[in-house]
């Protein structure tokens, strides 16, 4: 991959386009996962970091990796804001991934509350990365509220079902001038690759790795898939396939001036 192809979020540059989750596997595997994934950003639940000395998740995250604390457990904007502020107090930095769920079954994000929380936290200087249901109007509101990226879900979280919302994510990629990071539901490297081919700026994954037989090996597979997808996107893949083969005599060949 060319060095000048950076992922830029809130003015921060990253070479890796693979954001790792940390919540569903052994703490002892985090280091190997980060290394094999080549990840530079790792998410963690603030509520999970809210622990005493006994094996804090923070102690297992290698130095130099950017922490992306999430507000899971928040049921509305107010709670998300409180959790984000706590993350900052815990020393997790300025990045925050907003997760607001009013449903414990599917864990689908509440777009309206997410816009409100984004507005407040962006004003407080956070680099806000909102997790959302892929809706163009919401994405535009998030841009206006000061989001640093937009993180639409590919399918229900933990489902490993892949790009169920493919067409709607494509609309966000086409219309929104912020990095679109596909989050939730990506179950296989091939799906991550497809998201990148579509023009997603990055992919975030947790369950796909956590449920793999060999987690570090799967992290490596995802890294390669994401890099391949990015390269394919940059190389201009798809146009021929979308429009079909060009006929030798063009349809507009009769035009004279």
């Amino acid at each position: 991959m060319e060095n000048n192809d950076k992922l830029i979020i809130g003015g921060h540059e990253f070479n890796s386009r693979f954001i790792l989750g940390s919540g569903k596997y052994s703490l002892s595997l985090i280091k190997a996962a980060v290394e094999n994934a080549g990840a530079e950003i790792i998410t963690l639940a603030v509520r999970r970091a809210n622990t005493k000395e006994h094996e804090s998740i923070l102690d297992h995250i290698p130095e130099g990796v950017t922490l992306l604390p999430n507000t899971s457990g928040a049921r509305n904007a107010e709670e998300a804001v409180r959790i984000a502020r706590l993350a900052r107090e815990l020393g997790c930095g300025n990045f925050v991934k907003i997760e607001i769920m009013r449903d414990t079954k599917y864990l689908l994000p509440d777009n309206a509350e997410t816009i409100k929380a984004t507005d407040i936290l962006a004003n407080e200087g956070f680099v806000v990365m909102p997790y959302m249901y892929p809706d163009l109007n919401t994405a535009r509101d998030l841009v206006n509220a000061g989001a640093a990226s937009v993180m639409p879900l590919a399918s229900p979280i933990g489902s490993n079902k892949g790009l169920a919302t493919r067409d709607f994510i494509q609309i966000l990629i086409d219309e929104i001038d912020l990095p679109i990071i596909v989050d939730a539901g990506i179950g296989r490297p091939s799906q991550a690759c497809e998201a990148m081919e579509m023009g997603a700026a990055a992919v975030m994954s947790n369950t796909a790795l956590a449920t793999a037989g060999d987690l570090p090996m799967m992290a490596d597979a995802f890294r390669k898939a994401i890099e391949a997808g990015r390269q394919a996107y940059l190389s201009g893949l798809g146009r021929v396939l979308v429009r079909g083969a060009s006929p030798s005599d063009t349809l507009t060949g009769f035009l004279r001036d």
Binding site: K24, Y25, A45, K105, S159
Partner: protein, 416 residues
């Protein structure tokens, strides 16, 4: 086969014995178990009606291997599929159910297993529930810890490393009122990250008060969803009112609690019907309150002080495992807690399939954590509610779970 619950403790007065025998032998002297007592809030809810419609019409013996096979082929396990999976016809499919349950558990919870410990602060009880060690006619050592003693117990537990606590009392409003419990919970917030209660059902405003004291999770066991059977087991006291107990979790959610847990006590009645009602109770609660975190338990009957013969009857480990796998497939997102009523081998196995939370460092007695944790003698202790089967300490449990390839989690919660 039925359990013989009834026995006369030594030392009961003649008058007490006379009242006890009358309650046992003369149903006409018992109160109406379907009628709310004075002060018990009645809420508007259709959940009971929905659950009981399924409960009453469920005939587990009507399902065949074909029904089970068809259920397991479905991408989503709905109510009908769940009924098939709970039936005796599903027993030969146990391994298949376990495999699928394991996948679901991993998808939703990864390899994490949550650890907690219960803390009993009082064992006074005003009810006569024939199977329970705390029942008011069982002559046991009664005790209620004062705040100083509670704090001492909490320190001992917190020093062991535990971060989540479940506060329990016997069901006596006179001896352990809501204020007393609330004060204990405020103390618990100082020592623990997460506080739950398993106490007698209260009204919405009392749940709201407890929430303000730092509690976010409420567990209430319905014991049995068969109200006629319930009537024959809960002979006296406010616990006798079956519908008020049924609505406890909903009142807790209305009072602002984040999560609720429930279960029948398996072995008291038809366990398949009770398991069906348990899961549907939580299912309908979550449908009505989508933000609610729901959790299922699976207590089986255990021997108690003065009656070591009590047995879970036809709910053997195999059946319990079937119930838990069916729970997981029907409610993939729900927490499942397996208590120290179960053996080490069962708990080590079930956390790899379906369970997400287990207790450690458990005592169901009163004021005895120091003696149990450190071996230091303590003259003043209250008797236990039931015998536990897995007495592993926090440290041993943490190591055992790690050795099983699981990630023990001590806290994944914030009070906001």
């Amino acid at each position: 086969m039925e359990n013989n619950y009834i026995f006369d403790s030594e030392g009961l007065s003649e008058e007490a014995l006379r009242r006890k025998h009358k309650l046992e032998n003369d149903p006409s002297c018992r109160t109406d178990h379907m009628k709310y007592m004075e002060g018990q809030e009645q809420i508007k809810s259709d959940i009971r009606e929905k659950v009981m419609a399924h409960f009453n019409s469920y005939d587990a013996s009507a399902y065949t291997a074909k029904d089970v096979s068809r259920a397991l082929q479905q991408a989503t396990i709905g109510v009908e599929e769940f009924k098939a999976l709970l039936s005796p016809a599903a027993e030969p499919f146990l391994e298949q159910m376990a495999e699928r349950a394991r996948v679901e558990t991993r998808k939703h919870f990864g390899n994490t297993v949550y650890l907690f410990t219960p803390l009993y602060i009082a064992n006074y009880c005003e009810n006569y529930c024939v199977y329970c060690g705390f029942n008011c006619y069982n002559k046991i050592r009664r005790m209620k810890l004062n705040m100083e003693q509670i704090e001492h117990e909490m320190k001992v537990i917190a020093d062991s490393g535990m971060e989540e606590i479940l506060i329990l009392t016997g069901e006596s409003k006179a001896m352990s009122d809501v204020r007393y419990i609330g004060e204990a919970c405020k103390l618990a917030r100082k020592y623990f990250r997460m506080v739950g209660v398993e106490i007698y059902p209260v009204n919405v405003e009392d749940y709201r008060y407890l929430h303000e004291c730092g509690v976010d999770y409420v567990t209430v066991f319905q014991e049995t969803y068969d109200s006629d059977k319930y009537e024959t087991l809960h002979l006296a006291g406010h616990k006798r009112v079956w519908p008020y107990r049924f609505e406890a979790q909903e009142r807790a959610l209305m009072g602002g609690m984040r999560g609720v847990a429930g279960s029948a006590l398996l072995g008291l009645s038809d366990f398949r019907k009770d398991a069906l009602a348990t899961a549907l109770h939580m299912y309908y609660l979550q449908r009505k309150y989508p933000q609610a975190e729901i959790s299922l338990s699976c207590p089986r009957l255990r021997p108690i002080v003065n009656n070591d013969k009590i047995d879970p009857l036809d709910v053997r480990e195999k059946q319990l495992c079937q119930v838990l796998c069916a729970y997981r497939l029907f409610l993939p997102f729900a927490g499942i807690t397996v208590s120290s009523r179960e053996s080490k081998s069962f708990r080590d196995g079930i956390v790899k399939i379906a369970a997400t939370k287990i207790s450690a460092g458990v005592s169901t007695g009163i004021g005895d954590h120091e003696s149990k944790y450190t071996g230091k003698e303590n003259a003043e202790e209250g008797d236990e509610q039931f015998e536990i089967a897995d007495s592993r300490s926090f440290e041993t449990m943490y190591k055992d779970m790690s050795d099983e390839g699981l990630q023990p989690v001590l806290n994944d919660y914030l009070y906001v």
